[in-house]
Symmetry: C2
Subunit: 276 residues, 2 copies
Amino acid sequence: MTKQKRTVFYLSDRTGITAETLGHSLLTQFDGIEWETVNVPFLDDMDNAQAVLAQINHAAERDGHRPLVFSTLLKPEILEVIKQANCCIFDFFEAFIRSIEEELHQPFARMAGRSHGLQHHLSYFKRIAAINYVMAHDDGVNPKHFTDADIILTGVSRSGKTPTCLYLGLQYGIAAANYPLTPDDMDVQQLPAVLEAVKHKLFGLTLTPAQLHFIRQERRPDSQYASLAQCQREIQWQEALFSRYDIPYLDTTRISIEEISAIILDRCGLKRQLYG
Amino acid sequence: MTKQKRTVFYLSDRTGITAETLGHSLLTQFDGIEWETVNVPFLDDMDNAQAVLAQINHAAERDGHRPLVFSTLLKPEILEVIKQANCCIFDFFEAFIRSIEEELHQPFARMAGRSHGLQHHLSYFKRIAAINYVMAHDDGVNPKHFTDADIILTGVSRSGKTPTCLYLGLQYGIAAANYPLTPDDMDVQQLPAVLEAVKHKLFGLTLTPAQLHFIRQERRPDSQYASLAQCQREIQWQEALFSRYDIPYLDTTRISIEEISAIILDRCGLKRQLYG
């Protein structure tokens, strides 16, 4: 059986992040469909609206199914044009905004770019400061500033420390450092000395030896470093270390960077520093 | 006049990213309200649901207004508990999923964690590869690998290159390098030699001299580097350089990292490599 093919459009006055996030959440609930995605950010004039209308109608004809259109458009005149297309339209503002207006007893601003725009200088600086912190404290660099960290991730090579720190900095404004556990540390069966004083800020990342082996193989195929036996030794050792020192840790084998980050925030009681 | 104070809850089976994105997009359309935010990710058992019910009712009593609750909960029994609370609930799936089911002629999977979970190994490796590329090619490092870049951002110190590259890598899977323009380059009035061969991949970031001065003051107060005169010279010089070499560029003064990234993707015709 061939897969049903459908085209999906994400239409937005600005970045399109909201439309894509919401549409993606809904569509990932349906299996067995081949999606062709068309992103149209910064859709704010009538000529472009007419061009998108034609593009939607063309996709409908080509696919033999009308496209799904997710919209966060705010200009009524642009929306009116799109609504003439042969499509199934999901308008996020229309779906919720009236109820919120009623609840709050005030009309909405109908201003584009508020959600992912630059609203607050303070928030901007917090974010840049967090990113700078992450970049300056990656992979065990500058441990003398670890007292300023909101959290310090630790784990063996390729356990996902750097991507998680970057996500925590960029999306949540968290000053996240990371410190690698290396085979050298394994000899002493102790926490590296620089981590002792900041033990309460540590969070461990672990994964199955098989997954670590798989990831390391991509990096240095058939090396001692990537061998399953070595991965088994390192994982066994680090999990024992986490337990001995009461360091909370997480098995990241089957979860995404978003999920790892959300779990860390939740478990460590960290408050996100920015929205947007 | 004191601001109306309202509490908003984001309830989710998993990360809460979708619920927060939705609620944030809607609520930023209303001014003059002081929001207190409560994130409840990973809400998947009845005891926790009862605790959240109590928390919502408590907030309603304290604020004198019922809280707004944005939900991407998928378990009907959890949702039933929450619906007993004194709140105004916005159920994301309920609002849209039936229409999509009808359009696609199939029921939805009702499985949590699909949107921001780890769905595809390929996507995971693309993302990690992009992040590794960004980290290894920040601030002019390893220019001999610039031919592998999807895009190379350039601009003077503190023009926003690094945060933008990180966002492009992390959110879109784009291999983004960056190369700084320095006062040394100003003497020769030419593009740095390493950039000549990759000119077609360059994208410039600029901002107003006043904003650059403001940002640099945070970093090195009252230095020559941060002086308004120096910022004016550098900005004037780099914009002339971008024009002379036909390098597309963007004034980032009033826009967020999300907007800068979306504009770059749009203008350079880059396709995002990942979803989620």
